[in-house]
């Protein structure tokens, strides 16, 4: 469904991505893991149109999409849940969700709102409160719910577990798995490697702008270097 070839993206003279190749088969969960500053967010921003790649290609459903503006990429069926969630804090929870469906013209928006509320009842209870009043975990639910309102074929998630309590993290991963089972393809950026590899089918390891290792989630989890660097002391990643 998505294929990245030789993608280079930089900030001025700093190249944060030094030519990466990555493939996301339709229906799968692919996890992109790596340490702080590896370039994961840069990759997500390049995919969603926030950053213009310097070279390389992003092919989605057979079409080249690199360099398109973010709203054009949304209209192709790709939604990003950005790092830090970016909830519209001055708008209500309901308005945040409505904004998620901004480009939709089909008649299914109400039904999808219903299913977001069913999945996250707390959002319905608080639908008329401002986004800024939610806790971190609730904001992540809202961010995911908002992305689902666009009915994306490909969901990009940038560190959805960041800063959340372990219980909430487990919930979020469960929801990601469900969303995938309901048909969305998922590209998941995580530092919570253990959990990410549990739900992913394939994984790519990114180090300072380069893919150093990739394979099925089991292969990656069994790789000695990955074990040492990301799954090492069982307490560093839960």
């Amino acid at each position: 469904m998505l294929k990245i070839e030789g993608l280079v993206t930089g900030y001025g003279s700093i190249k944060a991505l030094k030519g990466i190749d990555l493939e996301v088969p339709a229906g799968s969960i692919v996890s992109l893991i790596g340490a702080n500053g590896a370039g994961k967010t840069t990759a997500m921003k390049s995919l969603s149109g926030l950053l213009k790649p310097e070279s390389g290609r992003i092919i989605y459903k057979g079409k080249q999409i690199q360099g398109l503006a973010p709203h054009k990429i949304v209209s192709l069926g790709i939604s990003l849940v950005p790092e830090g969630r970016n909830i519209l804090s001055q708008m209500t929870i309901l308005e945040n969700l409505e904004m998620g469906a901004y480009q939709r013209k089909d008649g299914q928006v109400a039904a999808d709102l219903r299913s977001v509320f069913n999945r996250f009842p707390v959002l319905e209870e608080r639908k008329n409160q401002l986004g800024g009043t939610l806790s971190g975990g609730q904001q992540q639910m809202l961010a995911i719910g908002r992305a689902m309102m666009a009915k994306p074929d490909l969901l990009l998630l940038d560190e959805p577990s960041m800063g959340l309590a372990p219980m909430v993290v487990a919930d979020i991963f469960k929801v990601i798995k469900e969303i995938n089972q309901e048909g969305a393809t998922v590209l998941l950026v995580e530092q919570n490697v253990r959990q990410a590899l549990k739900i992913a089918h394939y994984a790519y390891v990114l180090e300072t702008g380069k893919i150093v290792y990739n394979g099925t989630a089991e292969e990656v989890a069994a790789n000695p270097r990955v074990k040492e660097a990301y799954l090492g002391g069982s307490k560093t990643t839960v």
Binding site: L50, A69, P70, H71, S75, P82, L88, E98, Y102, A150
Partner: protein, 292 residues
Amino acid sequence: MFWQQLVNGLTLGSTYSLIALGYTLIMGVLNIVNMAHGEIFMFGAFVGLLLVTHLKVNIFVAMLGAALTGAILGIILERVALRPLRRKAVSHLAPLISTIGVSIFLESVALKLFGPQSRDFPSSFTAAFEFGPMRISLVQIFILAVSFSLMLVLRFWLAKTKIGKALRATAENIETANLLGVNTNKIIVLTVSLASALGSVAGVLVGLSFNAVEPTMGITMGLKGLAVLILGGMGNITGAMLGGLILGIAEVFSVAYGNSSYRDAVAFGMIIVILFIRPQGLFGSRDQQGGK
């Protein structure tokens, strides 16, 4: 006396609010001060005046013409002075300077086209009504009705419509809005043209109210609008509406109960005092300057 002055103050203040809303919308979405807003306001006044005097249209058509002219000027302003600077590594003062450039240009064009002298704004309604001790002219009622309706419609539009919500989302976080599928460039053009259309209509109202239109009117009124922008809390719509009314009332009362030569001193002095107490403005929150 008191009620009379209050009505006079509200009338004047409602035009300030309208002008300030233009600054506020642009500040909210783009985080910049549009220094050409006063001149767009002045152009609106002239277009309204010319439509009334030369084409003999009624005042509503004249306002519509002014609004359209304002919207077009806004679109040009965005193209010429704002868009080229966006997402470039330029100082955040650059748009301030480029809009000052546009304001100087517009004022010179107005001087060439319309001449330096002040012109009368003939109004077809000279009637006035007595309410007890109050005397309210039809012009005042007209100004109050037009500016309050515009403010109400704007509020409703921002709160309830899809595009209004997209504008608010863009104002809060342009990147997020873009990621949700909003064509933020279109929203920016819409914002600048809407702000300019409101400013132009305000120009017609002020022309009517003072019965005078001149090329330099944009500077004084522009400054008042800017003061209201800051008073209201940089980018806050409610703040701009109330701030304008407060400034208008303060001015009128300082003339009525004090000395007319201190009119602006009192009004701006009051703004300084309010800002001492609430540096973020009436409705701005501390961490939220510039609508971010």
